[in-house]
């Protein structure tokens, strides 16, 4: 019985070896693998960062970034400078007014003194 089983196993193994013979890959298989490898290599050599984007896209992105971030900041700085300039001008006007006021008062006091002195002499 054991011998029969062993003989049948040998026969079955031979049949399995024949049935499971290697099959060749379909035509063009190697070329397709080469193409995929080449594609992968192209992807790997793409520069890091934003370099892989087309130049037009890079310009468009730069413009959007400029509009979105740089211009508002620049406008705000410009506005702040204007306000500061306005404030300085106002201070200068106020100072000029103060000086003018002081001078006017001084002139008025001198005029009054001369006037009072003149009246005394007449009497």
């Amino acid at each position: 019985m054991k011998d029969e089983e062993a003989a049948e196993d040998i026969r079955l193994e031979a049949a399995l070896r024949a049935a499971l013979e290697r099959k060749n890959p379909p035509l063009g298989f190697a070329q397709r693998v080469e193409m995929r490898i080449a594609g992968q290599q192209r992807q790997q050599v793409r520069p890091r960062g934003w370099g892989w984007l087309r130049i037009e896209t890079q310009f468009a992105l730069a413009a959007v970034l400029l509009l979105a971030f740089v211009l508002p900041v620049s406008w705000r700085l410009h506005h702040q400078a204007e306000v500061a300039r306005g404030e300085a001008a106002k201070q200068q006007v106020m100072l000029a007014l103060r000086i003018t006021g002081t001078q006017l008062r001084s002139i008025q006091q001198r005029t009054q003194a001369i006037h009072i002195g003149g009246e005394g002499e007449t009497q």
Partner: protein, 152 residues
């Protein structure tokens, strides 16, 4: 070798090509770590088997082949009448192999297609040699049993 392993295990030509391409892509990235042509062969067999089993498990049902009573009857008749290598017997045996669970199927493919020893299969499949031998014996017994049933 790689395509054939994938085809026998996955049982689908399209999937086999996809698996084989993936294996070669992986090889391209791993080639520096492999030391010799033998090592490359071993690596290819191992990765092809594992990727095919993974694919089979993912798409279980789609690639599963069921042997019906008519198939078994025909296999029994063919096994009795035909010599090993007969196209009809081959077809039925391939169908029978395709009806086995993924790991058993892989062990059988590595043993009879790639002519690996149980030790080599154990290394490639990352399992004990005793398990490989047990899988082979069980598979042969199953095949013998299926054939015997037909002889009555």
């Amino acid at each position: 070798m790689v395509f054939s392993i994938a085809l026998r295990i996955a049982g689908d030509r399209g999937a086999a090509e996809e698996i084989a391409q993936d294996v070669f892509m992986e090889l391209h990235g791993t080639l520096e770590k492999l030391e010799s042509a033998e090592h490359v062969k071993y690596w290819l067999r191992k990765v092809a088997s594992h990727r095919s089993i993974d694919w089979l498990r993912r798409s279980r049902g789609a690639a599963e082949v069921a042997m019906d009573a008519a198939d078994l009857e025909q296999l029994g008749e063919l096994a009795a009448q035909c010599e090993p290598g007969d196209p009809l017997l081959n077809r039925q045996l391939q169908k029978l192999v395709a009806s086995l669970p993924p790991v058993q199927r892989s062990v059988l493919v590595l043993r009879y297609q790639e002519d690996l020893s149980p030790d080599e299969i154990a290394t490639a499949m990352e399992m004990p040699v005793a398990t490989v031998k047990s899988h082979l014996q069980r598979t042969l017994k199953l095949l013998r049993g299926k054939a015997e049933r037909m002889f009555g």
